[in-house]
């Protein structure tokens, strides 16, 4: 691909069925925001029932379980993956590697339009007989296979499985697009070690996704067969419901768990690694320094990716597997803290001797650093098999994953959105609103999910419609109320963000510069917003690394697009 060529002319071609990665990225982001509102409302219903059972007497156990299931499903796949991986990945990667567009623009467009019916199927499942799937986002059989086990396992689960199949098709298309673009379409001179850290994270995330999602595809297909075609992949002999013995023979529910978590564990790094990548980008621009430990970060991410594929059994410590296998999984799981410790070091050390500029993107980024620490350390309690015996299926797990794939990913999404918004839309977000949103999001999120860790320490179990049935957990129950109140605060704060985002995108003050943050990476050397084909002239030739901050006397920063010159161009400090 050489010079930028003429793009589509019709409204449909430009904004609906666009093959431009930037438009597709924004489509994904907006869809993720819509799904986030739904998933967030579901969370509020959960929190109401937990904190004020009786007030929510309209929330029956079947409704509650469906809502818990769908909240998790929508958040993991249709908000975080859709927004962070599909949304930002699409918008950012070609710009940061110096490509005109993704390697396969048509496939890219299709990947978005496959997601849309997936969203509809998920939402539609609430309105069918039996309600939405209710066996948890993990959908373990036999509960998820048999409508007589729980109402949501009727049509609701079938729709869930079909929606997931479509989602997996979409993310497969996206992953191979990212992989090909990053490996094959970089600007001349951009070696792998000159790529921005965010690009590395998307590369690794895509490889993980390509290799891990098929396990869930296989599991979903076999579950559909068990549900509708009478097979017994996961259904054992001798199950009794309502006095009737089911005809299934010989299957094992554990097989589903192995397949599910073979995907499930890498999946969380598919989400967390890009979150860390985006954070590094923001840190660089707002510390005016290259991030500490570029190479060790890259190698750490690769180690995380490799380890993530061989540790899935730590979700299954209590299933009665051979204890030697359990020990193996425990030993290898806690090894993941090692590369994450290096990443944590690099994140913190990037602030060393920095020239801190605390605009909104940076506030979120700093929040991410702390969240990575808390979330990551919490993993030690769960990865150590002996202590997991106590914490498995408790609120400790809920707090842990809400910190890691909730707080870390959400804060990084906001960091990314506030950072790149001017380039995306050519307008400025309201900085005060962003700062307010930051505080009203970060403080409640940290507090809520920390309290959940304490509840888990008290042994409170998850997916529980009414916790007052037990007496042993009475010490933890009082925390339900503050958590629920904070959940409402958090949700309300997101309305500030949405108003800011859409209001500014349509009516915000126009930016005066193509590079308002004075950042270095290639996307900041395009017009604002970037046209179809990204660079009106030739694609930049890269002759330096991505973070030339404070590395040339007299120049605060040098654009990565800047060729080697006697006197580097860039603003003075």
């Amino acid at each position: 691909m050489s010079d930028a060529h003429g793009g589509p002319k019709t409204f449909l071609g430009k904004y609906v069925f666009s093959m431009d990665h930037k438009v597709i990225g924004i489509q994904y982001l907006i869809t993720a925001m819509a799904m986030a509102v739904v998933a967030g409302l579901l969370a509020l219903v959960i929190r109401t029932q937990l904190a004020f059972p009786g007030l929510g007497h309209e929330v029956k156990p079947e409704t509650y379980l469906s809502i818990v299931t769908m909240h998790g499903t929508l958040m993991v796949f249709f908000v975080i993956s859709l927004g962070l991986v599909s949304g930002f990945g699409n918008w950012l990667i070609p710009l940061q590697v110096g490509a005109r567009d993704m390697a396969y623009p048509l496939l890219n467009m299709l990947s978005y339009w496959v997601t849309v019916p997936a969203c509809f199927l998920m939402l539609a499942s609430f309105f069918v007989e039996g309600g939405a799937a209710a066996a948890g986002w993990t959908s373990y059989p036999p509960l998820s296979a048999l409508p007589q086990a729980v109402p949501g396992s009727g049509l609701g689960t079938t729709l869930w499985l079909l929606a997931m199949a479509l989602f997996i098709v979409s993310i497969t298309m996206g992953s191979l697009n990212y992989l090909t673009t990053i490996l094959n379409c970089r600007a001349p001179g951009m070696s792998m070690m000159r790529m921005p850290l965010a690009v590395w994270t998307y590369l690794i995330s895509s490889v993980l996704g390509l290799l891990a999602f098929p396990a869930l595809t296989a599991a979903a297909i076999m579950l559909l067969f068990d549900r509708h075609l009478g097979t017994s992949f996961f259904l054992p002999s001798g199950m009794v419901f309502g006095g009737h013995v089911l005809p299934n023979m010989g299957g094992t529910p554990l097989l589903f768990q192995h397949l599910f978590w073979f995907l499930g564990h890498p999946e969380v790094y598919v989400l967390v690694l890009p979150a860390i990548g985006l954070t590094f980008e923001v840190l660089a621009a707002f510390t005016r320094r290259p991030p500490f430990g570029y190479r060790s970060s890259v190698y750490s991410m690769l180690v995380v990716a490799v380890l993530s594929v061989i540790v899935w059994g730590h979700h299954m410590f209590t299933t009665g597997m051979d204890p030697r296998i359990g020990e193996y999984f425990s030993v290898v799981t806690v090894m993941i803290t090692i590369p994450f410790a290096v990443l944590g070091l690099n994140l913190v050390a990037s602030l060393w001797r920095a020239d801190l500029r605390l605009a909104a993107p940076m506030m979120y980024a700093i929040g991410v650093i702390s969240a990575v620490g808390i979330g990551g350390l919490g993993g030690l309690y769960l990865g150590t098999a002996a202590s997991d015996m106590y914490f498995h299926d408790s609120y400790f797990v809920v707090g842990h994953f809400h910190f890691t794939i909730g707080t870390v990913t959400f804060l990084s999404l906001f960091a990314g959105i506030t950072f790149w918004f001017p380039k995306m839309f050519g307008r400025k977000l309201n900085e005060t609103a962003s700062q307010l949103h930051f505080w009203l999001t970060m403080v409640p999120m940290f507090t809520m999910f920390l309290l959940m860790h304490y509840q888990g320490m008290g042994g409170l179990l998850r997916r529980t419609y009414d916790t007052s049935v037990y007496e042993y957990n009475v010490g933890s129950r009082w925390m339900m109320v503050p958590i629920s109140v904070l959940a409402f605060v958090t949700f309300g704060a997101q309305l500030i963000f949405l108003a800011n985002f859409f209001g500014s995108a349509l009516f915000g003050k126009k930016v005066e510069s193509d590079n308002p943050w004075q950042a270095t990476t290639l996307e900041w050397s395009t017009p604002t917003p970037p046209p179809h084909g990204n660079w009106p002239g030739a694609v930049p030739v890269v002759e330096r690394g991505p973070y030339d901050y404070a590395s040339h006397p007299g120049a605060d920063y040098v654009l990565q697009a800047q060729a080697q010159m006697a006197a580097p161009v860039g603003a003075s400090a």
Partner: protein, 269 residues
């Protein structure tokens, strides 16, 4: 200003988290032998992760305060060697902390729960159904009688086979009440009639899934007389939240007396 606010927030966070570590006391009082060891592992992780957390946030706090002001800062990019030395040092330190927990403290616990039971072990069976725990003791012959799912009925919730002589003396407690002697290892066989369940007793630090089609085992030695709750720890349907049972731990004499009074399922009237 913003930096100070952030730094203060992290300070508050650190205090809260450290206070939370003290609230490791939220754990219900431990009442089993291996449970005490589990608590040791948790205490270890609390301390070690706590130290790491405090150090990390102290550094974060310091950087925010020091580098957000107007005092100019000289910066030279650290050399590659320096960056690698820090990375490897942190990596090594983290490896030590995490693996000591797993290998030194954790392995013995795991071995106790899954290892060979002692000679005087008490066998009992727990069958999970939606939404109750069915308890069975093998009786004087020490052997469980045959059960068949086809025989499951309201009056025979376990599906115990009347024609099996070994079933006659089986003691069945169909109301979710497990009775055990103190200071004696109990080994439970765990099964399910329908979906996944999980047998957990928080005070024993015990948790084992019940998987239909499979017999799992777990063992523990209760160390305190008392009544404890069995909580289902794997989502099993609408009644999951109320699938509550009890474990009654008695002195060994009381247990012997209680056992002697029990009638075999197909014995007596």
């Amino acid at each position: 200003m913003k930096a100070i606010a952030l730094a203060v927030f992290f300070l508050v966070m650190t205090v809260a988290v450290v206070a939370g570590f003290a609230a490791g006391g939220l754990r219900p009082e431990v009442a089993s032998a291996h449970g005490a060891r589990v608590d040791t592992v948790v205490d270890y992780v609390l301390c070690s992760s706590g130290v790491i957390f405090v150090i990390g946030h102290a550094v974060l706090f310091w950087f925010l305060v020091r580098y957000s002001g107007s005092v100019p800062v000289t910066y030279v990019q650290p050399s590659s060697a320096v960056q690698w030395r820090w990375a490897l040092g942190v990596a090594f330190g983290m490896a030590l902390v995490s693996e000591v927990g797993v290998l030194v403290l954790g392995l013995p616990v795991w071995a106790e729960v899954y290892g060979e039971p002692p000679a005087d072990v008490l066998d009992a069976e727990v069958v999970g159904v939606q939404f109750n725990w069915l308890i069975r003791y093998p009786g004087k012959d020490g052997v469980y009688g045959r059960t068949d799912p086809k025989l499951v009925a309201e009056w025979n919730p376990l599906g115990l086979d009347e024609d099996d002589p070994k079933a006659a003396d089986d003691i069945v407690l169909p109301n979710g009440r497990l009775v055990l002697p103190v200071d004696r290892m109990a080994r439970l066989s765990l099964r399910s009639h329908d979906v996944l369940h999980s047998f957990s007793v928080p005070q024993f630090r015990t948790k084992q899934d019940l998987i239909p089609g499979f017999v799992a085992h777990t063992q523990f030695r209760p160390t305190k007389v008392g009544t404890y709750e069995i909580a289902c720890a794997e989502l099993c349907g609408l009644g999951h939240y109320r699938m509550r049972g009890t474990v009654v731990v008695m002195s060994q004499e009381d247990f012997a007396a209680w056992l002697a009074k029990q009638v075999g399922y197909y014995e007596g009237g």
